[in-house]
């Protein structure tokens, strides 16, 4: 029984079968990549996991609990954090404040009316944020306004915001999309480090094979809304079905 179980998920948009009978089990502690050609249903699947879309049929359970129909903040509170294709951060706030918000959300839940307590008094939170910034090598940028940073740093900050919440599952939506090679490699290093040090379960949706093969220890290939192969990376490379899916049936 995996930490995240996807059973018989179907989703139609009008006449288009976006997802057909998706069954997927993510084991705790693994880095599970979901790949597939454009239009294979990767984004739709992700959106079903984070509460943005509701599948027509099927179940999605996290630690044995159904998460269908939950709002994004409720899903996060269960321990699922999400990294976006383009980094979503609080761009007008400082790096420190960005991470601090995530920290408060973890400690105090989705809403707390505490208008008269002072941020300055929150020693624990400060220590935690400091430590997190050290961990991701951003301590020197603590007072920088998030919008002013490079794309790589924004990604790093977004990661820090997720990690500070000690998530049980990290969802990454094409984390290196649109990045320069150097930034991509940095991100891979960062993710590797996270995996080694923290052992967080990750689901990565990715285009870039380089990223996938450097990180994942399990890969599911989606084609036309259905998983066609699920295996360890070394066996995926030579798989005929996968090549077929990517080349669009050029063998016929």
């Amino acid at each position: 029984m995996g930490i995240l179980e996807i059973n018989n998920v179907n989703k139609r948009f009008g006449g288009l079968q976006a997802l057909g009978d998706v069954n997927l089990s993510v084991e705790e502690g693994t880095v599970h990549a979901i790949i597939g050609p454009n239009g294979a249903g990767k984004s739709t699947l992700l959106n079903c996991l984070i509460g943005k879309l509701l599948p027509d049929t099927g179940t999605v359970t996290f630690e044995g609990r159904s998460i269908l129909g939950l709002k994004p903040h409720q899903i996060n509170q269960l321990g699922i954090s999400r990294v976006f294709q383009t980094p979503e951060i609080f761009s007008t706030l400082s790096v420190f404040e960005n991470v601090m918000i995530a920290c408060f959300a973890k400690r105090d839940g989705s809403f707390q009316l505490n208008p008269l307590t002072s941020i300055r008094g929150e020693r624990d939170i400060h220590d935690k944020v400091e430590q997190m910034l050290l961990d991701v090598n951003m301590a020197d940028k603590r007072n920088a306004i998030a919008a002013s940073m490079s794309r790589g740093d924004k990604r790093r900050l977004e990661m820090a915001m997720c990690l500070v919440q000690d998530p049980k599952l990290l969802l990454l939506d094409e984390p290196t999309a649109g990045m320069a090679r150097a930034d991509t490699n940095n991100t891979i290093e960062l993710l590797k480090e996270i995996e080694e040090k923290r052992g967080i379960t990750m689901v990565i949706i990715e285009h870039d094979m380089h990223v996938v093969f450097s990180l994942a220890n399990k890969i599911t290939v989606l084609a036309q809304g259905t998983p066609i192969v699920e295996d360890v990376p070394s066996k995926i490379k030579g798989n005929l079905k996968v090549q077929e899916a990517y080349l669009g049936g050029a063998h016929e």
Binding site: K71, H73, S91, S94, I101, A102, S110, F111, Q112, S118
Partner: protein, 399 residues
């Protein structure tokens, strides 16, 4: 001090000092001099500074922090006034129960309106609040004023009549008072050619303003305030970080509504009368202008904006053609007449035209408001690079 850091404590003490000394500061010109018309140190105006300061500071908690632009806050001002006058009618002229009820009623009222309006954001929200305010205006003006159920007394406005019960009045005063301290009591201190006025009502308003400002400061520096600023920046991220933005915005809406209620209650406490015109969209627009003029999202900006607008409203409305002619009387007559003709549409009854123009100019050229503009000028002069004092940098690491 007060649970604030050094810079904030300084700001707070500064505001207290300015407020308490307002009767001196606002009266720089001798009473008989030609410039006396520029004095702002008389009770009625000073009370307005404080009351509208509260209104704007509260509005800023919603607009400045969360970025939700409400065009209906005047409705809360009006509701606060009506509630207060009803307390005068039913109990006595003591202002404490009146103000308490004002805050309570507006709190509930803004909870109801906020619950509906906050289902949408952006311009939808602005339009909805505007519609609600206009609806409240229509209700106060006519719907809730009919022989069988007269809550607002329609066009005449709600006021206290001799026939009202006033159950707790006993032998208490016939004008609004704080446990016997009458609101319109004024002591005048004459120093040479100057006359400084110290008015009970003003100091009551000042007290409430200082408390209100203090609470606003605490909100700005609280985790709650941080979440509100996060809402303004990126709601998607906020939701995926595990925070539910709806209750935060609703709480901010209700808090700012209660500030408006307090302001409305104080207006009635200074002059026990409540009329529907207090709820019109022009009044809502005015508080928006005060906030952006001073600087939305800054602590002190709304106070500045409120003072600025109320001062100039007062001065501008007093200026008529005669005054203008005396100003320019030294110039040749043709130039004098020309200048008077040019300025005429903007003063006296033309104050609203000036207000509208100011609105546009501020939004176009100084979107950060006076505080931001001041900081920029200060940076130019000193060559330093300071951000606005209220754009909160992240706190220093805990030692």
């Amino acid at each position: 001090m007060f649970g604030l850091d050094k810079a904030d404590t300084r700001t707070f003490l500064f505001v207290i000092a300015i407020t308490l000394l307002a009767p001196f500061i606002l009266n720089p010109f001798p009473t008989d001099s030609a410039l006396a018309q520029f004095n702002g140190g008389y009770p009625d105006l000073m009370q307005r500074f404080m009351i509208f300061g509260i209104f704007a500071v509260g509005f800023n908690i919603l607009f400045g922090l969360t970025g939700y632009l409400s065009f209906g806050h005047a409705a809360f001002l009006g509701v606060g006034s009506y509630a207060a006058v009803w307390m005068f009618k039913l109990l006595s002229f003591n202002i404490i129960p009146a103000i308490a009820l004002s805050i309570l009623v507006t709190g509930l009222f803004s909870l109801a309106i906020g619950y509906i309006c906050l289902r949408r954001s952006g311009i939808y929200f602005s339009i909805l609040t505007l519609a609600f305010a206009q609806m409240s205006f229509a209700m106060a003006y006519s719907v809730l004023s009919n022989p069988s159920f007269n809550l607002t007394n329609g066009e005449t406005g709600l006021q206290v009549y001799a026939s009202d019960p006033q159950y707790l009045k006993g032998s208490g005063p016939d004008i609004t008072h704080l446990f016997g301290l009458e609101m319109n009591a004024t002591k005048t201190l004459e120093v040479g050619a100057w006359a400084f006025q110290f008015n009970t009502g003003f100091y009551v308003c000042a007290f409430f303003m200082i408390v209100a400002f203090y609470i606003a400061m605490r909100i700005f520096r609280s985790p709650f305030g941080l979440m509100l600023r996060a809402i303004k920046t990126n709601q998607t991220r906020l939701n995926y970080t595990g925070l539910n933005s709806r209750p935060y915005t609703l709480a901010a809406f209700v808090i700012s509504g209660m500030y408006a209620g307090l302001a409305g209650g104080l207006l009635a406490a200074m002059d026990p009368l409540a009329g529907a015109e207090r709820m019109q969209w022009t009044a809502s627009g005015e508080v928006v202008l005060m906030t952006i003029l001073g600087g939305a999202g800054t602590l002190i900006g709304p106070l500045l904006g409120a003072g600025f607008i109320k001062y100039f409203e007062n001065i501008f409305s007093k200026i008529n053609d005669n005054v203008l002619h005396t100003w320019f009387s030294l110039m040749p007559e043709s130039i004098e007449n020309f200048l008077v003709t040019i300025i005429h549409p903007f003063v006296g009854k033309g104050w609203h035209l000036t207000l509208g123009l100011m609105f546009m100019l501020i939004v176009i050229f100084l979107p950060g408001g006076l505080v931001d503009g001041g900081t920029r000028i200060w940076n130019k002069i000193t060559g330093r690079n300071r951000t606005s004092p209220d754009v909160v940098a992240s706190p220093k690491p805990a030692e």
